[in-house]
């Protein structure tokens, strides 16, 4: 557990710090995949119709798995906090989730428009789902931490 902040109502785990590391892992996975277009990823699919050598999806999957794990740890740590303003958290996070689901949907649309399919599409979609959950968690947490429960 982190030290209590002088403006926090209760002692809180380092949700923002873990969330940022976790977001960075998602971004790293996205950069890895984007940087290898149009190479065949894991030999599963032609991303853009150019023949090239195979690039493994494994690094992206490992990065996203680590990110998902950190998200789960973050939520579990937060769930153990007594007196956290969950009502406020969900009030804010649900609207943020709607907004970031729209943003993630737009990016997914671009991938589909460019005929991304197979393994890369699954990995990129998973990354977008993680992104769309992560940001609302961080926004909801930042608001709720200053709320008297």
């Amino acid at each position: 557990m982190s030290e209590p902040d002088r403006v926090d109502a209760v002692r809180l785990p380092p949700v923002t710090q873990l969330g940022m590391v976790s977001l960075a892992l998602i971004v790293a996975a996205g950069i890895y995949l984007s940087a290898h277009i149009p190479e065949q990823v894991s030999g599963l699919v032609h991303v853009s119709g150019f023949a090239s050598h195979s690039v493994s999806l494994a690094p992206a999957i490992v990065l996203l798995g680590a990110s998902a794990l950190m998200l789960a740890v973050n939520l579990l740590a937060l769930a153990r906090v007594d007196g956290f303003a969950w009502a406020r958290f969900f009030e804010i996070a649900r609207w943020a989730l709607l907004a970031y689901a729209i943003i993630a949907g737009m990016i997914e649309y671009v991938f589909l428009r460019n005929h991304t399919s197979g393994g890369p599409l699954v990995v990129l979609s998973f990354a977008l789902v993680l992104f769309a959950v992560h940001v609302p968690v961080l926004i909801g947490f930042t608001v709720a931490r200053y709320q008297e429960s």
């Binding site: 002088r6 977001l23 971004v27 984007s34 853009s48 961080l138 926004i139 930042t142």
Partner: protein, 211 residues
């Protein structure tokens, strides 16, 4: 409608004064955290984005990417290096007046600008071939991914939550000055950091545009 609240100093860089200073009547205008009047405009922009991507024509994609990217870059630079320092030096009532008028608009403008820039940019890169690893300036393109990625982590992890949280705090009948101060500091410092990263974006994008 404005409301006058009795509150100790609310602002940046005056934490001690905020905690110990004499109460001052601070007028806070009524505001919406997400301005509903702006939502139809965001909707129109997103429809234009979908249309641009669906048609996959060069000019609409270029237009959306350049307009979105220019807005994103200019706003970040202006906030980080011009408005941020000014905001920090304003009297408390002026800070609150500016904050409650500016920040709700940023809640709509920045995510929209970023989404349009990235989605149209990716489609544009696919259309003209600059996202291909065989492109001769591929290293510069990957550098742009990294810069955007770092900005995204800072903006999504720190700046955007601080923006929403400070507005939520200012909506309370008795906002805590120390909370507002802390969140405003976070907002301005992260805006400065993304402003610095935008200089790197300008270097990369002008290099790519020069061929």
């Amino acid at each position: 409608m404005a409301q006058a609240v009795s509150s100790p100093g609310i602002g940046i860089g005056d934490g001690a004064a905020a905690a110990q200073g004499p109460p001052a009547d601070v007028e806070r205008p009524d505001f919406q955290i997400v301005p509903r009047a702006g939502l139809p405009i965001v909707g129109v922009v997103l429809v234009l984005l979908i249309a641009g991507i669906a048609t996959n024509k060069l000019w609409p994609l270029m237009f959306l990417h350049v307009v979105g990217g220019a807005s994103w870059t200019i706003i970040d630079l202006f906030l980080g290096f011009v408005l941020g320092p000014i905001l920090g030096s304003l009297p408390i009532p002026a800070r609150i007046a500016l904050t409650t008028r500016l920040m709700p608009k940023m809640v709509l403008i920045m995510p929209t600008a970023v989404t349009v820039t990235l989605a149209a940019g990716w489609q544009l890169g696919t259309h003209v071939g600059t996202v291909q690893s065989s492109y001769y300036l591929h290293g510069w393109v990957v550098a742009s991914y990294i810069v955007v990625g770092v900005m995204a982590v800072i903006a999504l992890g720190l700046l955007e939550p601080a923006n929403i949280a400070v507005l939520t705090e200012l909506k309370k009948p008795q906002p805590k000055p120390e909370v507002v101060e802390k969140l405003m500091k976070r907002f301005i410092y992260t805006a400065g950091a993304t402003g610095l990263m935008q200089i790197a974006t300008l270097v990369i994008m002008t290099r790519l545009a020069s061929g």
